[in-house]
Amino acid sequence: MSKKIDEQTQKNLAILKEANRRSTLRRIKKYRGFYVMFLPVFILALVFHYIPMIGNYYAFTDYKGIAGAKVNWVGLANFTKMFSMAAFHSAFWNTLFLSITKLLLNTFAAVLISLFLNEIVNIHFKKIAQTIIYLPHFMSWVVTASVFTLILSPTSEGMVNQILVSSGIIDKGIYFLAEDTWWKPMFFVINLWKDTGWGTIIFLATLSGISPDVYEAASIDGAGRFQKMRYITMPALQNTIITVLILNLAKVMNLFESVFVLQNDAVLSTSNVLQTYVYYQTFNSGTIPNYGYTTAVGLTKSVVGCILVLICNWASKKVRDGRGIV
């Protein structure tokens, strides 16, 4: 008896499965247009993202890019070499130091400015101020570096040095972008100049979401402007600040162009980050590029970056009600 039921169930299941398969096939057929539409991004992502991922196996070889030469498996030799290089260690810590400090400074400045921006009563003045402070974000790093190279120049053309010299603060021009003690502070200043304004947008969006009624009620209770800022505005911004920090923390390992265009031979050891180190080692080392070694450095960077993304994603889900960053 029960055996018969089992058989029946099996049969039904098989029919269901078949129907399901057919309906899937039917849906695939019906939606075939979508697969064609997905093709461009699929192929490009495959070629420019997935094949390079596989290409990371060069990190375990002595590949030097010479056609016809035999590529030998060298195990972890490239990584052992990497950890013995002082330049790698300084580039690694520099990457973390420069991008995290930059992130904290820029976020702090953006929050501060958006708080003040939010207090501007005259709408036209506010619009003009916003337009101006967003502007530098759209200038390329090459242009930004050019502008600052020109105005920070130690010669008579450099505005900053001229002002400092003529006001008697210093005796002769400082080559700000070519001195070890000045390079990092200048890097942060230039980053603040370029991206603080743009960074305010997200905070302003949060601020405009706070109901005026809350402020009204606080005023009636006798709260002053700074008390309102402290007890209403800041708590509302807290979540956005954490979100911004998490989203950007995931990207800290990618620092490249901004450093690359601002550095020069004189400050290479203080300014090098992992990506610029990889670039110089590969394309500017003066010898045959050791792709195996530089891939190993790049792979280390990608793995650390990946771990950071996963941690940030986990943190984001905790803080933002289950919304991850990827």
Binding site: V41, Y134, P136, E157, A205
Partner: protein
Amino acid sequence: MANRVAMKKKKMPVFSVVNAIIFIVLCLIILIPMWKVLVDSFDLKTAYGMKLWPEQFGIAGYKSVFTNPSLYKPFLISVIVTISGTFMGLAISTLGAYVLIQWDLPGRNFFAGFLLFTMIFEGGMIPTYLVVRALHMTNTLWAVTLLPAVNIYDLVLMRNFFEGIPTALFESADIDGCGPVATFFRIVLPLSKAGLASIGLMFAVNYWNNYTNFKLYITNQDLYNFQMKLRSIIMGSDLPQANGGATENTVKNAAVIVAILPFMIVYPFLQKYFVKGINIGAVKE
């Protein structure tokens, strides 16, 4: 509301004044470096650092930039790459994003994972370079046009934007026998003009400002874009001949201005689209 503003004004005039001063100073800090470059680009005398107005006005710096073939060719390459790249990037991301909102498409989740994984783990500079080289794309404009066109971040922004389209529209289109392709062109694209504008602008700025990809994949000077050229001018290795009374410094400053000019002209009119772009990404609920 008006009452509240009036009350504020009466109560804290000092704060408003201080706040206004803070922003005037901030705007000056942003503008002075740019202004200085602009002034020096029009100044035929070797510029002294503190001048904020040209001593001897002249446009010879710009003449040197625009009459020099080694400079207008990079400018043209920038224009070509920006236009073709923006279209390519928009096509790839809108198509991809449209597929990602088809929730009952078999394989949809696989596609989403396939794209998102590239945001978690990246191939890296050298393996990507080796792939581009193996495809014989180094020293071709393909490398600098195709690579930035696959921007998964922008694709996700586009998807967020598409998700705002009411599903009822898709259903009725389906009932009326409108296929996926027709739906895309007749419903999705016309309803996403604002999204297309902001993401298209992001692509355009990206392409115009692109330096890293050129630096990595282009060694042939004939294929340099304006950013590459500007870089070598500023580094002093490749200064075009200054003529008509322009000094070296005038030409350098004029070249910087030419690099930002196209953007400066359109920026005031398009600012809201840029801001919108960041808001669909970040404040999406």
